[in-house]
Assembly symmetry: C2
Homo-oligomer: 410 residues x 2
């Protein structure tokens, strides 16, 4: 007998029929003797409907009142899910974030969970109930309802699993796991049966948008066994996210290929090579709240250097004008260029720590296809390159094949 937390997103509970499906799955786990806590989001579309209604009244809705209102979306789903379970003869009871006292700070619309009072849930579980908890919401010290921000239901699931020391936290979504890369680009992409937490973080932040990063970090912090599964398939074990490197000899070197075409590249050419230049360039960018991803600086031969970094495509023009207005003259840079026709491709795998030659294999594979590499950046478990956007699909496909990701692990 295990204690399992199952989280279902808005699409999984998007209609009465789908809620009945969720109830049937929960009932199957219950019938196997497990204790089950279910976390649900609002029915798909409901949160946006409520926000729209609020904006009709107040163009910039007051955050406290917005949370008061938007939290009703999950409150409806928990009641419906409990009823669907009861209708199957399964004892069930629903709780809002406030009722199980998911205590948060008072940062309305983006609150952080501080603690969870799990006693009430545990008593219900021991009495044979399935406990259905509203995702995405909590309550502050003063009794105000708060929400955790978009994707916060994942965080609720993980936080509950941590508080209850659950055996597993299952995140049901519309994909059946984490893949070696996007199957829409590489049909041979394989579902990974396990992936490490760090790899997941790299893959999630690079475009494999399966889980909210924050919930994965949370799971890592509290060592919660996290599994991603499809709510639309009866079978399948999904992908388990682990927090220790497996000592399994068959651990693949590379787990997956991530990509991102949302970035733009900015190059500051002919910068005098002296201390403090990086700060002088990026300081004004950071002050404007623009997130910078890759940063590369190369020392040149003539006492000047070229400085390159990437930002989100939407911020390219803003960044360029900041640099031209506030930075170029000040530091004496020769030229500033922007390019939004780029793509970033990353090879990710904890296995590469103990294997040499991954980088060179990556570069050779791209060279054989005539793909020029514009930027390179590496971390312990990832090598990222920036290439011309038009080569993105090709690069992902040839790398996927070169690292034999289409082959089942031995």
């Amino acid at each position: 007998m295990a204690l399992i937390v199952q989280k279902y997103g808005g699409t999984s509970v998007g209609s009465p029929e789908r809620i009945r499906n969720v109830a049937r799955r929960v009932a199957r786990y219950k019938a196997l003797g497990h204790q089950v806590v279910v976390v649900v989001s609002a029915m798909s579309g409901e949160t946006n409907r409520l926000i729209g209604l609020a904006r009709e009244i107040m163009p910039e809705p007051d955050p406290r009142e917005l949370d008061q209102m938007v939290s009703t979306g999950e409150q409806v789903t928990i009641a419906l899910t409990s009823m669907a379970l009861m209708d199957l003869g399964v004892k069930a009871r629903s709780y809002t974030g406030s009722q199980v006292r998911i205590l948060t700070d008072d940062a309305f619309t983006k609150a952080r969970i501080l603690s969870i009072d799990e006693e009430r849930i545990r008593a219900d579980l021991n009495a044979g109930y399935v406990v259905v908890v509203a995702g995405f919401q909590g309550v502050d010290e003063a009794g105000n309802i708060t929400t955790l921000g978009r994707g916060g239901s994942d965080t609720t699931g993980v936080a509950l699993a941590a508080a209850l020391k659950a055996d597993e936290c299952q995140i049901y979504t519309d994909v059946d796991g984490v893949y070696t890369t996007d199957p829409r680009i590489v049909p041979e992409a394989r579902r990974l049966s396990t992936i490490t937490f760090e790899e997941m973080l790299e893959l999630a932040s690079q475009g494999s948008k399966v889980l909210q990063i924050r919930s994965v970090e949370f799971a890592g912090k509290y060592k919660v066994k996290l599994r991603v599964l499809s709510s639309f398939e009866e079978e399948g074990d999904g992908t388990l996210i682990t927090f220790e490197e497996s000592d399994n000899m068959e651990q693949p070197i590379i787990s997956g290929i991530a990509f991102n075409r949302d970035e733009a590249k900015i190059t500051v050419l002919g910068v005098p090579d002296r201390p403090g230049i990086a700060y002088q360039i990026l300081g004004p960018v950071a002050d404007a709240n623009i997130d910078v991803d890759m940063i590369i600086q190369n020392v040149g031969a003539d006492g000047t250097t070229d400085f390159t970094f990437t930002v989100h495509k939407n911020e390219l023009n803003k960044t360029l004008s900041i640099l031209k207005d506030k930075v170029q003259g000040h530091i004496g840079a020769r030229e500033i260029n922007g390019d939004d026709k780029i793509a970033k491709i990353s090879v990710v795998g904890v296995g590469m720590r103990s294997h040499v030659g991954i980088a060179s294999q990556m570069f050779r594979t791209l060279a054989e296809e005539g793909i020029n590499i514009q930027m390179i950046s590496t971390s312990e478990i990832k090598i990222s390159v920036v290439v011309d956007e038009k080569y993105m699909e090709l690069a992902v496909r040839v790398l996927h094949k070169a690292f034999e990701l289409d082959q089942a692990a031995a």
Copy 2:
């Protein structure tokens, strides 16, 4: 400066535009220096939508889960109303029944209010906020959300007014007050500027469905000054419901004419006139949970008596078959008749306590029009008669005129 509780029903907050209207009215009261607590219902249609959704999942929804879900209707309205106030520059803060701790028993879907913790509201009022509270809902000792049943928002308004010792509880509805009779039948019907609590009870239960009886009883118990007003008109003082007979000499003798065409009459003829007969007839009816309204028994000359009573039209056939199966043979009644083509008309007024001749004037007026009276029943402040249904409108009109209800009070 007064403390005013204003309650707005579902129609009054049925759209963003109407919510803005409510906010404008509240802002006007606030601008006059009053402290205002606003109680709102769910937007019209929302409660039924939620109940429909629940029934799709569970034909007989679990009461606890239904309350958990249905209570979201008001939760949305309080947030929208607060936002509409803020948008006008008025400080506002919303609370669910649970947040201001409207403590109830745990009779889900029909809970009774036990107490209200008014401290938080009072602190907000003193800090200059308009406080917006969800009607219709509360929380039980264990933290479960409860609802008060249909019309419960009126009760919330009155209960808050009682707890806060408010100067007045204003109930905004789609009529602008209590009338001497239904203006659709008598165009000359006048709005009453005041009416006593007892008259209101008689008029409300007789078909002038302006307020929930329970909330009026509640107001009477706690001596809350209750005023009925229209939310669709800018001007007008509505009708004030008082709890003491005014010593105003101009107090009219009769306040209004009530009528009801929902009842049916049942006559048990030729019953042996002996003790216990009334119980033998009505006991089995009460056991079947059928409400009986008027009851009349007349001793006959031949040692038998005729026994007549009224029930709701919908219960006529059920009542007849109970009487024929279980009662008629047992008590030896000669005949049992049912008639659903009747109407009850009542003349209501606390003034009649100190005036003789009201009954005879009523009977004479009806006789002059050739309207036969089938039953008569009296209380201290009401005389009711049952007549053939087809004379109902005529009877209401002539009585309205005979008691000079179309004349403004001197």
